[in-house]
Symmetry: C2
Subunit: 418 residues, 2 copies
């Protein structure tokens, strides 16, 4: 394990770039190892249910990808992605009312790389970017390499609060914010979805204050109930849209994409050249054939039913076991519920106790910029990965850990210690 390096003296401690100081390693990722212990119930990762894919069919797709297209699939590919892959993505986007041509997008090594490329393209040290607070911790990690000043805007059940956004933009002034990063549908970690009214208002504000909007949409197709809201990109061609096959097919293929205005794509293409030359052409061939030659919508619909059952199980368990002081969101799709506990409950401290009890989750503070001090009494719990009975058991165990901490606090209060 690389972690053995923790106790090794670092001869090079003084020569790292300054950005390394401000980065932090993700507690979640570091817990992935723990999550693979079979007795641990994982509420941490946003891992799709790969076991329900038609692996025999995918195996055939992979075999043919090499046999019939291996000469290009195993070779270096175009930095912006294969034309055939882009054509498939254009077709996928039609379902979201986003009408684009292959030249309107770049294929990326997962949507995570898209975040890195956008940070690299736009952020100088100290530049202001706006995100929801809490937001996707991987986005914060990606941007942090470029040392921005991240301002966060709270959400409620209708998504990012536009009154707070407007106040922030007014304070910061026109054309000073590099971009507004949002996950409008089934937000990570919030689970909430931005209402149509707020979507309209966001785009108005973006134009008024001349700020780019980045719409990250990994979960849009994972809806269990309610009617979909239009994508921001479907409402406004200036929006930068990030998509991925990770949640509708498989993250192991690391295939995502960026849709953006052409001048911006030009820059991103140049930036991507130095970053990894090109994505895996083989993975792109597999993606093409999976979406062209298999009944993927049916497969996804079946998997979605499972996610739906799991969400219901998690929400029922929260009702059953969690203390009345706790609040949580009610997602209509996606992978996550965001739980807010009494202010004195520290979820980072809670995590090690929960781990002893065989449950892991994401402490809320990781979903805010480092040093903000926010989210310490919150947690992201994912319902996507475990079966209903395990989810119920995990919530039961978590509730005991929480109750214990609340009892401890009450004892302190009663003893006059606080």
């Amino acid at each position: 394990m690389v972690t053995s390096g923790l106790i090794q003296f670092d001869d090079w401690a003084d020569i790292y770039a300054s950005r390394v100081e401000t980065m932090r390693t993700s507690a979640v990722r570091d817990l992935f190892a723990a999550a693979s212990r079979s007795d641990i119930i994982s509420l941490s990762g946003g891992m799709p249910d790969i076991a329900r894919l038609p692996l025999d069919k995918v195996s055939e797709v992979a075999a043919n990808a090499v046999k019939k297209e291996g000469v290009s699939g195993l070779q270096y590919g175009d930095t912006t992605g294969r034309e055939q892959t882009k054509a498939v993505i254009c077709r996928l986007m039609e379902d979201s009312d986003i009408h684009i041509k292959p030249e309107d997008l770049i294929v990326t090594t997962g949507a995570q790389q898209a975040l890195d490329l956008l940070g690299k393209t736009f952020i100088d040290v100290g530049d202001v970017v706006i995100t929801e607070g809490p937001t996707y911790l991987g986005a914060l990690q990606a941007f942090s390499a470029y040392q921005p000043d991240v301002h966060t805007i709270e959400f409620d059940d209708e998504g990012m609060r536009m009154d707070l956004l407007e106040a922030e933009l007014k304070k910061l002034g026109k054309r000073t914010v590099k971009f507004i990063y949002t996950i409008p549908t089934f937000q990570n970690p919030g689970g909430v979805t931005m209402s149509l009214e707020r979507r309209k208002r966001l785009l108005e504000l973006a134009h008024e204050y001349e700020v780019l909007v980045i719409e990250d949409d990994p979960y849009g197709r994972l809806r269990f109930e309610g009617e979909p809201e239009p994508c921001l990109r479907a409402m406004d061609d200036d929006v930068i849209y990030l998509g991925t096959v990770s949640k509708v097919f498989a993250p192991g293929l690391r295939t995502g994409w960026i849709i953006a205005p052409h001048p911006i794509l030009q820059k991103i293409k140049m930036v991507k050249q130095g970053t990894d030359l090109c994505g895996s052409a083989l993975n792109q061939v597999i993606v093409e054939h999976y979406f062209n030659d298999t009944p993927w919508k049916e497969t996804l619909a079946n998997i979605n039913v499972k996610y739906w059952e799991r969400r219901d199980a998690m929400l029922a368990a929260l009702e059953e076991f969690f203390p009345p002081e706790a609040r949580w969101t009610h997602p209509c799709g996606g992978f996550f519920v965001w739980v807010t506990l009494p202010e004195y409950v520290d979820t980072v401290q809670m995590l090690s106790v929960a781990l002893e009890n065989g449950v892991i989750f994401v402490p809320g503070d990781g979903c805010y910029p480092a040093g903000s001090g926010k989210g310490r009494n919150a947690m992201r719990i994912a319902f996507c990965y475990e079966e209903p009975e395990k989810l119920r058991e995990a919530i039961r165990r978590l509730s005991m850990v929480i109750e214990e901490r609340m009892a401890l606090y009450r004892a302190f209060i009663n003893a006059g210690a606080l």
Copy 2:
């Protein structure tokens, strides 16, 4: 084509990060599109001969990777790479007398990502790094995102000149250079190999001036003649070593690796999390089984014979057609020959004429830091990709383009115009 954006007004021209200004797009990559025209003979890309892989066997490997290991192979993976992949890489490294354990390396999305991660981990704006001059253009691209001050050291037939390196280090002082980046074996673009004596001296100087050494070794196994020199990493555990399967198997799998001291690996791991979360687990499974279950050394030996024939064809054609004023290197392996033309021949200008004549190559100036003004009369020509008769034809055509430019120059001189 994204290039249509070239003529589109860029509303966002003022909001890009400053690093974007100093980056340049690679002429080579932009020519990849041209290279796919069937009438073009490509001396540009360092593309391995994928068609000679046992595609049926690789197809079977890919099918099994999904069928038997798809549940992990299609899922998110560990940021540092799969344990099984690391074990395979350790075994590969044994052949180079590098004795490591899985915890001593991180799997990267191609060695290109390794370069990006190293830049991100070590380079602040203005930091000095040293490379050979000319050097791998993708390394310059990767580093340029972090805005270093790149100092280049010339090479001769024995590799990087240690007298020049020592003078440079003396001038710059101890512990001020972030790292020395070298491709000691079959250098890109030079084709030259560093002698044992120089390798020893490089490591001495690195210790004396407390500078990290990064050894990039994509071509080490592609030797046609002569005895191998030891890897720098085999001589010194402090050396950061970059490897890749791109030239010994397939670049389409985007699988490379970094070997480094543990404290440095810790930082790189953190940096990689934000950059792409993890590489493609599926590609890693395929890599594992290709090296475990196929006679890959035999396959590579057969492909190497082809590269060897092509090198011979190219060197013979250079002797036959190129003017006596031209000089070129004599690589004992790898993919490239570096040609130096009379100072007044500008290879960037030459490229468009060559393209009209159906040949592309890499103009030398791309192999130096932007704005250095060096390499304008040089070119990198790759012999790896085309068959001998095509190589001969390409060199014949190039020689005509060169002769034309030389004749033009002589005419100017005679007319007293210069």
